[in-house]
Symmetry: D2
Subunit: 422 residues, 4 copies
């Protein structure tokens, strides 16, 4: 039994927990934070293989295969860079490869992760301009357009938007932002963070003419954390050739040179690349990317129906911006999401996402992305519904029932389609 | 995508399925048959270790440890024999070690597995007498007592009862059967099959004076199939010394001689023994066996509340005999459980147990045993409820809701106990 | 550190070793007994997958695939039966499916395993006739022919030979035995045990008209122990229809009926079947069976050259019968193989095979079968050579050097062939 | 069969190799490059566990445990920082956390990795001064002392030395360098790279008063690549508070703040941390660190004896600086190490380290570090000896024999010690 069970609010001691680290209570933990997500056994088992020589011929084949697969995932014909690093590193890479010290970058305040990226830009010596937001809507294409038009000197060097804001469950419309930049006829680079959308929500690097897209391994890609990505454009590559930011680990130049033959300039995270290969096979070849997106849409829709049935409020205000990978739910006033989540963890062995930054203790987040299916979603929603009950949070019952109705309706339609197609 | 998806009733071709054998649709399969059960990752990973020399010193320590652990699990101080075989083999071992060709054995018809064991006895040259049953109740202690009293010549050499009938979800009262034998003052051996109860439902080999208890690895023990067990008594050992049934693989004598030092007379299934060691650690040391039984009781209770809310009928008629490891549900007349389960498998990637033997296509079974928790149970019940809807089976909604109420009520009580204890 | 290190001859206590069971000293253990063999990580990882419903469509595909693969491995078009049992069980199955109580069977004393099989036959109520042997030669076709010719009444119902005698490293000539039976015009069934040759040494069930071939999983098939096999013939099937031996678990009839669609009459060892599928892919598709046999021949040849260089004597006297899967080496008089092997285990973390039965403490055995390569063989031989030194066993150095010469000579030839083919 | 076999010099095509990526020829690959090293199955299996919430209570316990373990490994009471990154990232972290743009750093040219670190410093805007070396000796304490004494203005801000130069097999004497700095009474920071020595060769962060020690996961720690480390000192922390280099991902400040409770400021590589925990248990608790160092010394000594027996020349000229984790061997003039290694890979499935930078095609490297034992070392040396033969490289035979003599001599001594201690 986990030490945190039955002793809710006491901090666990090292001794107690260390001994149970590899122990679990009965059944599988429900890891329903919006990433890291539940890693499928196939991917874990792929990672669990002997490390090979990163300079040998097998490695080159592996490298070429995963690099090509990542292009398909980002929907780009330009190169993708794979870092042995967390997503935060890929944020840094996007900035230091393309910009000069003191450059102005226009960033949209969509939530906590947009704020962290902005803070990073400042720490790296850039001058971020942060278009204020209420954390309940996506980046505003109109505001971006206005800011760019106002920048007649073209001092703004980059526009940075978080595609799917993991702290709020809001998906910004990257295509609309692209159109806004185009309307402003502004030469700024366009950068997007897809850490919690890649492999879960449709994303089109080339079609939307994004210059640097940032991605990570531990969400829709279903891998453990430890890999992150930059998808590039010709314009980004041109900017990189001129960039004066100091850099070494993150530098694209040697990466791309080595990547041509499938190798890396320094030791790559070989075993995570085994997992990446398996993940790409699952997403691109077996399940089909568009099918994966539809599954995420369906689960998000069922989740929102449950939230409404409970009488709770969604953090995201704009239906066109509802995230398909996670749902952030506002707690009724006077009720703590921290306490609620702790009860859910203790009683039902499920991890939910916390409120972050400005909305700490006010919002909880349900991750429904990655390797996930209808019954696991319903188990998740049941855990939320029972947790609301046990925590004394005012709500109507019937959330799970509403989600079941949504999912059977879809199943019925799908079934009819199959029959008519047969 | 599994070949069986979207093409419901066509038999899968070898080619299609072979290539997807190691593939899975999104998320984890819900394996809710009453065994094999969901194997926890700890146990799979324990099995996934290099095979060692079964004659070396490490092996002896392993052997001694798992043999001692199995005694604790059966609640016996007598030896337990571990076979590299399915549970069916342990049935055969119980009979051939203790009896002579042509011996009469008294067996109780509780369902399909009792019938199969009876058939085996006949095939092995014994004369089983089968006390008829309606497959909705456990073994009747009164009928057993009567049969034994009638056997004034003591020609009956053994009484065989299935503790938990996996085909019906009925748990026979082994203690009451023991009392019946005692009241009849009959010297017959007493044998019980605990294949689907061991590690899930309280069982007391010594206290109930059972002479041979049969068990298997793939249910409450949370292992893959491939190991089975005989727990013995002094009386069984004495019978074995006299037994004239031909035997070699199943013979206890060499087993027990080798087991004294932790070894086996022929090559044991070493890697499954690694898993057994991990399973015993989980059940006996970490979770606590009584706590494990209470969990199974709680899940069974919530499942029955769901069944009643659906307006469906339980196969088991006697509340004192409700099984805590599985629930068998009767289909409304005119509705096929085969079709229902196929829809559940196709739409929700969940395997349920079929109707067997006499009740084929009339009963489906929900396994809720082994490594299992509240949220997985609710996902399971949601799959059943949605499957009933999609299959057009008449039912009331609200089964999942009823189960949630049952589980939160228990959680509230548990929570109050923790607070008062703190 | 293993408890057995540094405390050579004291028996390990349960406490010490239990805690280190999953611990290992630095580097990989060399498991050079003649089975179980070193299981490749691919196979272990295949076994380490979620157990599936043994009545579901995926399982049927798996079943059909491995059953077909086993036919290819045995080189037969007749059915192969797969048991969830050790090889000893498959011995029993061969006898009880085909014979009647009291039947005479002709068996050849090639070593300890032939003796054990003979003992089993006696315990099962058969009358084995054991053609005496010196444990240094294979079954004698001439003696078998003579015995059969003498049996004018055709009372002998079966001839049983161990193909590769694991206790002595002698491979009997099954084709020559078949010819002897044919010359005697005797109708006896022909049974062969290939437990330590299957997948390592060429074997041809159909061509040699063997009626029942017995096999196991944990040697050339590179799996952990827990599966065993019977390959059949039409004549064996006809005998089975008439056989009066009592049987249930081992009965072919239900097995073959269920196997037609890829299923089993009782719960199969599903996870080991995953491993079997992987093993068959490796042997039949990737490496090629004939190539696998040549590799074993090459390693056995190099091993014998090492033994001769050490000045030690091979147990096998007949070059035409040298085993390619293991080599048994005679200790110089007055030197204990038990002590020698203990030193090798303690100092070099390598398990070697012991002397068994009549040749206990007189012979040690080097397993060089299964998933094995040149450098592991040389590490193995180095461990033997150093162990001889440390144990004070009289020998000449140079065994490893002789093996290296043998292996480079072969490599040079292979290399030349490649060049001329290019 | 690997595509690279039998077609030595043709570049492998993507198609061919991609399909065999997870395939291997018979037996285990010998990964004898000087890192990544052979990952023990225990560590791979620890990594192969479900990812947990990096904000939950279990994670905090894991974090505290591995952070404490890393202090023991570096022999420091100061904090250790763990990055989700390759070792190259930890090099960058050491520089950007402590220095200002334009700072002078004194670096010692010991080989290719020292050169790469120097190049990195220049790319990051520092001014490295490179004390020239011949790649056959370690850093010269006298030269460092002289350079520091000459720097009367104390413009040199840091002295950077590679402890174990992976390209040459030379171990610099860090204690002696420390003494040189002290004698010069120079306030420069002292930084050391232990990427290929940590956990293999004795290293004492506190005793030698190193300010920043850089480490990586994939060598002596026996993990796959993907984690790297900075061990700090109070002086380094004070420098970090003043440092003006732009940084974010590598910044120690937030790391140390989060680490206090066992957490990380951004998503850590959770599954690799599972492996790190297992590795630390193995090194610190089970095997004992000093014992691990002695094992590496012993293997290095045996390897050098083999090299001398072959009549080949060691790259390292100074016996006091022989590396215990790898041995670099010079090829006779006119012979290509590239071709030699390719033959070894094709014929014996062993990867050896190549010559790097200035000594490309002139030196090959044998890694004998990490999870390794005597018999694997002898298999490795046998592969080298046979490869020399097949490649036509002039040499004397007897290298393996010399190594065996060395290892048995040690074993004999150890054995005698055990007896006298008993």
């Amino acid at each position: 039994m986990l030490a945190h069970r039955g002793a809710p609010f006491a901090p666990p001691s090292v001794t107690d927990l260390a001994s149970v680290l590899m122990t679990s209570p009965a059944g599988r933990h429900f890891l329903q934070i919006p990433g890291p997500t539940n890693v499928p056994e196939r991917i874990l088992r792929a990672i669990d293989r002997a490390t090979i020589d990163h300079r040998g011929p097998q490695f080159g084949a592996l490298g070429r295969e995963v690099l090509a697969g990542m292009q398909a995932l980002f929907k780009t014909r330009s190169p993708v860079v794979i870092y042995p690093a967390s997503g935060t590193g890929a944020w840094e890479a996007a900035l230091v490869n393309t910009l000069d010290p003191g450059d102005r970058v226009l960033m949209a305040e969509t939530g906590q992760f947009a704020t962290l990226w902005k803070n990073m830009a400042a720490r790296l010596g850039l001058q971020p301009e942060f278009i204020a937001g209420d954390w309940r809507r996506g980046a505003d294409p109109g505001a971006i357009e206005a800011a760019l038009i106002a920048d007649t000197a073209h001092a703004i060097r980059a526009v940075c938007v978080v595609h799917n804001e993991t702290s709020t469950g809001v998906t910004s419309r990257i295509g609309a932002v692209r159109a806004a930049i185009d309307r402003a006829r502004h030469p700024a680079l366009f950068m997007a963070d897809t850490i919690s959308s890649l492999g879960s929500i449709d994303y089109r690097h080339d079609e939307w003419e994004v210059d640097v897209t940032v991605g990570g391994s531990q969400k829709g890609l279903m891998l453990p954390p430890g890999l992150s990505f930059n998808a590039l454009s010709d314009k980004a590559l041109a900017a990189a050739r001129r960039s004066k930011m100091p850099k070494s680990y993150w530098a694209w130049e040697e990466m791309l040179a080595s990547n041509k033959s499938g190798y890396f300039p320094y030791t790559p995270a070989t075993n995570l690349l085994y997992g990446l290969r398996e993940a790409l096979t699952m997403l691109l070849e077996e399940q089909g990317l568009e099918q994966v997106f539809r599954r995420h849409d369906r689960h998000a829709d069922a989740t929102r129906k449950a939230v409404r049935a409970w009488g709770l409020e969604l953090q995201c205000l704009e239906p066109a911006e509802f995230s398909s990978s996670l749902t952030a739910v506002r707690m009724p006033s006077g009720h703590s999401e921290v306490r609620f989540r702790q009860i859910v963890l203790e009683r039902f062995d499920m991890s939910l996402g916390s409120g972050l930054g400005k909305i700490a203790d006010k919002v909880f987040r349900i991750g429904h992305l990655g390797d996930f299916n209808d019954l696991s979603l319903l188990g998740t929603l049941a855990g939320v519904e029972m947790g609301l009950e046990l925590a004394g949070v005012p709500h109507s019952k019937g959330g799970v029932a509403a989600a079941m109705s949504a999912l059977t309706a879809v199943a019925t339609v799908a079934s009819a389609e199959v029959r008519s197609a047969a």
